[in-house]
Symmetry: C2
Subunit: 199 residues, 2 copies
Amino acid sequence: MAGNITRADILRAALAILDSGGLPALAMRRIAGELGVQQSALYWHFNSKQELLAGLADDILERVPDVVGDTWRARVVTLASTLRAALLEHKDAAELVATAFAFKLGSKAPFRRFADELHGAGLMQADVETAASVLLHFVLGYTTNEQQHWQAATLGAIDAEGTAEDDLGPQFSTDRFVSGVELIVDGIDTRLQGPHPSA
Amino acid sequence: MAGNITRADILRAALAILDSGGLPALAMRRIAGELGVQQSALYWHFNSKQELLAGLADDILERVPDVVGDTWRARVVTLASTLRAALLEHKDAAELVATAFAFKLGSKAPFRRFADELHGAGLMQADVETAASVLLHFVLGYTTNEQQHWQAATLGAIDAEGTAEDDLGPQFSTDRFVSGVELIVDGIDTRLQGPHPSA
C-alpha cells in the first residue's frame, strides 16, 4: 500500500490524530500506523515532520473562507474572526499554525490576507507589515491561549467555573476577541489619518 | 537531603534545565534527578507539574524591572520591551509564560502592570481589560514565535539567512516589535480621545 498513499491521505490521517490527541500525539510513527505503511512512505511526500506539520497548518488555513464587507475595517475584523473560528475547530490548531508560522514553513496566507486588505485601505507598506504582524500575533496568541485554557478545563487541570468569576485576567469570548481586534483596527486607522498620505 | 530542599532550590534546578533543554526537557523526574531527591520531594512544594511551571513563570516575570517614563505611552512601550527582554533570556520562556497564563495558574503580574498603567492614563475599565489583553497577547505571541524561530534556525531546521531575505512574513527585531506595540498604543489613545470621558 505504501506506494499508493497520497499527500492528502497523510494529511487526513494527521488531522484525525490531531483532533483526538492534540499536537503531542502527532508522531510520524503513529501517522504511518494509522495508514498501515512504513514511516519511510511519509518521507516520500514530506521531507521532515516539520514540513508535515506545516502542510497540516496550510490545510486548516485553506478552509478559512473569503470574507466580504463594505469597508476594510469590517473585512479585517471578519477575517480575524473567521480565522479564529477555523482554528477552534481542531485541537491545538492555533499552536500548530503559530509554530509553522514561526518556522516560516507554512504558507503565509493569513499574513498576506491581512496585508492585502490593509494595502487596499491605503496604508503605507511599512505600516502594512507592522499591522498585519500585530493582527496575526493577536489572533494566534489569543486563540492558542483560549484552546489551552479550555482543554485544561476539560481535563480538570483547572477550574473553568472558578476562573470564569475571576476578573483579573483576560477571559475568552467572541466579544472579547472582537474588542481586541477593533482596538488594533483603531490603531491602524490613526496611521491612515496621520502624516502619511493614503494611496 | 529530600527534607532540606526548598522551593527556591527546585525553581533554580528547573530554570537550569529550561535553559539547557527547553520546555520538553522539564520533566519532574529530571528535576528530582538534578537535585538528588525523589520526585515525591518536589510535590511537597508543588501540587503538580503545572504548578511548578507556573512557579517558574512567576520567577522569570519577577525579574522584569519597574519601568519609568514621563507618559503612560512611554511606560507601556518600555514595559512591553522589558518583558520581551526578560523572556528572551531563557529558552522557551515566552511559551512557558503564555501557557501558565492560559491556565491562569501563574501570577497575573504582567497583565496587571499593563492594566495599572492604562487605568492611570484614564482608560475606562472595559477598555483597560481589552487593551491589556491585546498588549499581553502581542508580547507573548511575538516573543514565542521569535524564540521558536531562532531556536529552529540554530538547530538548522530552517535557514535563518534565507528567511532574513524574505519580505512576505514578519521578521523579528526590536524595531519591529516596538512598532507593533506603538500601533496598539495608538489604538488605545483613540479610546482616551473618544466618546468616553477620561478620568
